[in-house]
């Protein structure tokens, strides 16, 4: 099998973060994963990723701006001819702090805001942060960089989608992504408090359609979460196909959550080359292609499109990473998804457990 070309490098520079969002998809044991790569090591990651065919690099975390060497890392990315994109909560950089990053080659920024309502945004983030985020967005805009505004929508904020769109317009962002919670890590613990009802999502979708008709800017992305669909998401465009993730310790993974799957051996950059970590690590090859598939995936006409859904979700909900994603209507065991769907009916707001240093 030819080694796939990773188009996108996800560089998790650190798991540390000043925010404590209850839908964080970082691993529960994030605090035990140390920042293992210095800026030169990240530079080698960038060059080797570019040699493998990567085009974009998302500098993310945790909160990547906690890295004092972020400017050097951006410069390495640009020197490697990657398109550097910063994924940040925007609470730590003063406007002037952006200038060296832009000079180093930063091209675009994804800013997360938790809500259009300042108090609700601060409550979800677990820290006073809303006003700082707006100031950061204005500073980015003033410097001419495109902003992708990311708002994770959940049952507590999805009914404010109009106000969220209005805020995106006020900030003059290129794109607003109304992102679904990814139910891994902390988010899975909080699923009952986060998963919107089908009716809430339908209302939001209609509001988005109306907003799109009003104006083409910003582009607005919204998707019905897999919990409410009959076919699974084509997770990561296929395991180990397009996304190459390097976690803060240098471990090379196919996605954010794969490290939690038991029995899979992933390799660490530095101990081996990036090409080896990507192409040859047993964990990376565990679910490449279709040989691993069970029925009904193995003979399914949709398997080339959805790749059987998400391995991490199959493991988290069924205990078997090779099972058909239970978000699929054809999956033999959908009880976990259907129970979560039932539990999501009604509009009540439920308490959220914030990310902390440990889940216990």
């Amino acid at each position: 099998m030819d080694t796939p070309r990773p188009l996108n490098l996800i560089a998790e520079l650190t798991y540390r973060c000043p925010l404590r969002c209850g839908y964080c998809s970082n691993p529960l044991d994030w605090a035990s994963v140390r920042d293992g790569l210095d800026s030169d090591a990240w530079g080698r990651v960038m060059h080797e990723a570019a040699a493998l065919g990567a085009i974009h690099v998302g500098l993310t975390g945790g909160e990547p701006t906690l890295r004092p060497d972020l400017r050097e890392i951006v410069a390495h990315a640009a020197a490697a001819n990657l398109y550097p994109h910063l994924v940040t909560a925007g609470t730590l950089i003063e406007p002037a702090g952006l200038d060296p990053l832009i000079e180093a080659g930063l091209r675009s920024v994804q800013l997360s805001i938790q809500d259009s309502d300042p108090a609700a945004s601060d409550a979800m983030a677990g820290t006073e942060s809303f006003e700082r985020k707006l100031a950061f967005a204005r500073a980015v805009r003033a410097r001419g960089l495109p902003i992708l505004l990311n708002v994770v929508v959940h049952r507590g904020n999805v009914d404010r989608v109009d106000a969220i769109i209005a805020l995106a317009r006020e900030l003059d962002v290129e794109r607003l992504e109304l992102a679904n919670v990814q139910y891994y890590g902390w988010a899975l613990l909080n699923r009952e408090a986060l998963l919107p009802s089908r009716a809430q999502l339908e209302r939001a979708r209609l509001r988005v359609e109306a907003a799109r008709a009003e104006s083409a800017r910003p582009e607005i992305l919204i998707a019905i979460p897999d919990y409410h669909r009959e076919r699974p998401k084509p997770c990561m465009g296929g395991w180990g196909q397009k996304m190459l993730l390097v976690d803060p310790s240098g471990r090379v993974l196919p996605c954010h959550a794969a490290a939690d799957l038991p029995g899979l051996e992933f390799w660490r950059f530095g101990e081996r080359s990036l090409a080896e970590c990507w192409g040859e690590a047993p964990g990376m090859n565990a679910f490449r292609g279709e040989d691993w598939m069970q029925e009904p995936c193995r003979s399914c006409s949709e398997r080339a499109r959805d790749h059987g859904g998400c391995r991490c979700q199959a493991f988290a909900l069924l205990g078997d990473a090779a099972a058909t994603d239970p978000a699929c209507g054809l999956a033999p065991d959908r009880s976990a998804i259907l129970a979560a769907r039932d539990a999501a009916e009604g509009d009540g707001i439920r308490p959220i457990r914030h990310r902390a240093t440990s889940a216990s």
Binding site: I55, H56, N81, Y83, H85, R107
Partner: protein, 317 residues
Amino acid sequence: MSARADLEARLRAVGEERYHHRHPFNLRMHAGELSAEEIRAWARNRYYYQTRIPKKDSTILAKDGTDTEFRREWIGRIHDHDGEKPGEGGLELWLELASATGCDRDEVESLRFVLPGVREACDAYVEFVESHDLFDSVASSLTEMFAGDIMKVRIAAFEAHYPWVAAEGLRYFQSRTSQAPRDAAFGLSWVLDHADSPEDAARCVAALERKCEILWSLLDAVEAAARRPELVPHAEVRNDSAEDRTLVVLPERAVALNESARELLDLCDGEKSADALALEIAHRHPDAKTAYPDAHDFIAHMERAGVLACAASATAG
């Protein structure tokens, strides 16, 4: 007010509100604000509309419900458009107008350089008449009630603001100042005679509204063709040697281009209009029969994909 007078008043109100005399492109034309390029693009594209009219009228003539008197009257429209012999008729006069604005007559007549949106709007009119009965079809022709006035405004505007268009070119407009009111008078009284119920009246109003919409979207397309595309500032164009293609890299996405798309993208400078770009591509590739509409479709597609941003026409205020 009688039902007849009431329906006529409603039809006139539709025209006042929705006829294309209020379209921004026409307002700018009549205020003398259009560039020569915009006038030419309009003349070339509107010719496609002219060519659809005899087809539309032939379809009407073939419909159930026509009688000798109706056909004898209605067939005059086809004669008006096609002429009794070569060198006569509305289509010929329109080609002379197009030539007078500086268009290549053969190019206009070839219909190779018709905007996709214009083609769609005009085809929608023919399809409307094909799929509706005689009553709705005649009602949809009643935009002619408002055509006489706009022709007079247009003649004055061309004389005042576009003196570089030779006077012979304006003969189409002049011919329509008398034809349109005559045709409209027949169509209107026929429709009023045949509207027997409030439902008929509503159908009639709806047909006229639909026709106004079609004329409006034709001008939307012509107006949009003057927008000036440019690569968005944060896009990065690079050769993707691994897969032998051009990539436009944007935040979190990349758009792959083939060779002809790359050629067009390289011409987008924020100054040339979409129409000028499409014409240039079409002239470079005379054997590619659909190069012109394809170029317009590509520009629209790249705009939606966030690769190109477009400034309004250089003459729009």
